[in-house]
């Protein structure tokens, strides 16, 4: 189980980056379900067209926590367009890889980001 995790994954698991909430978030993504055991919530703060800040809350295994942490690092400073291009593979690579059975956790991170961005775009549309 844990001998399959890279050092980077363990680092992000032990000391995850950007844990928390953004009370006045511009976009919130909620993905996952209790049956498969991973639930991610991603908050983003957008300034101009760039993601200024990102925070997460995750219920899940080490891979879930590590991918959540990593994706908040990856999106920081990116434009909305660039953020939508971040794939689950990029998240896994940034963590020096995930065990094959854990790749679905990185999918969840990608989906959480998409969901947050969609939420942001919807809010923008409603404002206008």
């Amino acid at each position: 189980m844990n001998s399959q995790y890279s050092e980077k994954v363990m680092e992000h698991f032990k000391n995850p980056h950007n844990v928390g909430e953004i009370p006045d978030a511009d976009g919130i993504g909620n993905v996952g379900n209790p049956i498969c055991g991973d639930i991610m919530r991603l908050y983003i703060k957008v300034e101009g067209d760039r993601i200024k800040d990102a925070k997460f809350k995750t219920f899940g295994c080490a891979a879930a926590i590590a991918t959540s942490s990593m994706i908040t690092d990856l999106v920081r400073g990116k434009t909305i367009k660039e953020a939508l291009e971040i794939s689950n593979k990029a998240v896994a690579e940034a963590l020096d890889g995930l065990p094959p059975v854990k790749m679905h956790c990185s999918m969840l991170a990608e989906e959480a980001l998409r969901s947050a961005v969609e939420d942001y775009l919807k809010k923008q549309a409603n404002k206008g």
């Binding site: 698991f13 498969c36 055991g37 809350k57 995750t58 219920f59 295994c61 926590i65 679905h104």
Partner: protein, 390 residues
């Protein structure tokens, strides 16, 4: 860093006395127990001596009714497939429970795909098998009832005596997977009325790779392993003399220490339970509060996931296990907890502590100290904990 092992239901360390008894059979006494000469006779004596020791722990029963195997899994396969084949002209229906070990469940599933029919009996919220449902499920073409003696994940001890009564009344063979129960609670095969009993050495401080199946004389069985005439033509294969000797010694020691150890371990287990209840909120015990193996404590920590708890414990040198999907290797949480009606999110947060001979009060107190900050850190990270706070 001190390592604390709380996963004895997974496996146990080999007792030094067991190892000492085994070693000669890797060394000067390497004979094949079936050989005619002195080397063989020496090995043969050791095997039969071990067989007697094993028979004492489950009865006693007649040693000849014990067949040595490679472990609990083989014993389960042998029992179920052996009966299925031998009695197929009588019927092709079998009854088992929803919470069996995969060695039983997957064997039944295999047979179900090959012309047999299996009824899976549900359990209640404590993991106790529904006796009424067992009785109702028996048909004229039922050939086997297989209900485990005690569950490995939550420790619940099943009403095997009642199941046996039903089996006897209906003239159906009764098999029980007693791998987790052996050495932890008294087993008297004849008093309870068990026809087939699976047991394993590595759960009772014996070596991995050795187990046994008790087969009552009235049980018709087709061998699982064909080949030489070993084990009176019931299970071919050169005897694993060292492993068998280890199993025998482990059984002897378990019989000697069971009563005293049980009391000691139960006290430690409940100390852990009380320490957790006192210092951590939103926890749930999984398993029967009383009818449970003395060493097993399966607790769900709500709002957090099992593997992340285990890894955090592992970073502190503490070993336990979990029923979460991530630890099961599948994408679903423990089938045992699901059968007990535990909600998926709660099942995901389950951690199993199973105590054993080396555990001390000091170790338990360390675990009690280390757990709360781990749970707090994970809850602070958890969206489910947020929802609860709101």
């Amino acid at each position: 860093m001190k390592r604390i092992y709380l996963d004895h239901n997974a496996t146990t360390p080999v007792n030094p006395e067991v190892l000492k008894e085994m070693l000669p059979y890797f060394g000067e006494e390497y004979g094949n127990a079936s050989s005619l000469h002195s080397f063989g006779r020496y090995a043969r004596e050791a095997v039969e001596d071990a067989r007697a020791k094993v028979s004492n722990l489950i009865g006693p029963v007649e040693p000849v009714d014990i067949v040595f195997t490679s472990g609990g899994t083989e014993s389960d396969n042998f029992a179920i497939k052996g009966v299925a084949h031998a009695l197929k002209s009588k019927g092709k229906h079998m009854i088992t429970s929803e919470i069996e070990h995969h060695a039983v469940l997957n064997t039944c599933e295999f047979l179900a795909k090959n012309g047999y029919e299996v009824t899976y009996i549900p359990v209640d919220e404590y993991g106790l098998v529904d006796i009424g449902a067992v009785k109702k499920a028996v048909r004229p073409d039922t050939i086997l009832i297989s209900i485990m003696f005690a569950n490995n994940e939550v420790g619940t001890i099943e009403p095997v005596k009642e199941v046996s009564a039903i089996a006897r009344e209906k003239g159906v063979l009764f098999h029980t997977d007693a791998v987790q129960a052996l050495g932890k609670i008294p087993i008297d095969v004849e008093e309870i009325g068990i026809d087939l009993l699976s047991i394993s050495a590595h759960k009772i401080y014996g070596p991995k790779g050795t187990g046994a199946l008790y087969i009552n004389k009235k049980a018709k069985m087709t061998p699982f392993m064909h080949g030489g005439h070993h084990e009176r033509n019931r299970r071919a294969g050169t005897e694993n003399v060292a492993g068998i000797v280890g199993f025998g010694t482990a059984c002897k020691l378990a019989g000697e220490y069971m009563e005293k150890e049980n009391r000691r371990i139960l006290a430690l287990r409940d100390r852990l339970r009380d320490g957790i209840n006192k210092n951590i909120g939103d926890v749930k015990l999984n398993g029967h509060p009383l009818m449970r193996l003395p060493n097993t404590l399966n607790i769900s920590f709500k709002y957090v996931e099992g593997e992340s708890v285990l890894l955090n414990l592992d970073l502190k040198g503490i070993a336990a296990s979990s029923g979460s999907a991530c630890t099961s290797g599948s994408l679903e949480p423990s089938h045992v907890l699901s059968a007990m009606g535990v909600e998926p999110a709660t099942a995901q947060g389950s951690v199993r502590f199973s105590l054993g001979s080396e555990n001390t009060e000091a170790e338990i107190d360390i675990v009690i100290k280390e757990l709360p900050p781990i749970i707090k850190k994970l809850r602070d990270m958890s969206p489910l904990y947020d929802l609860r706070k709101k």
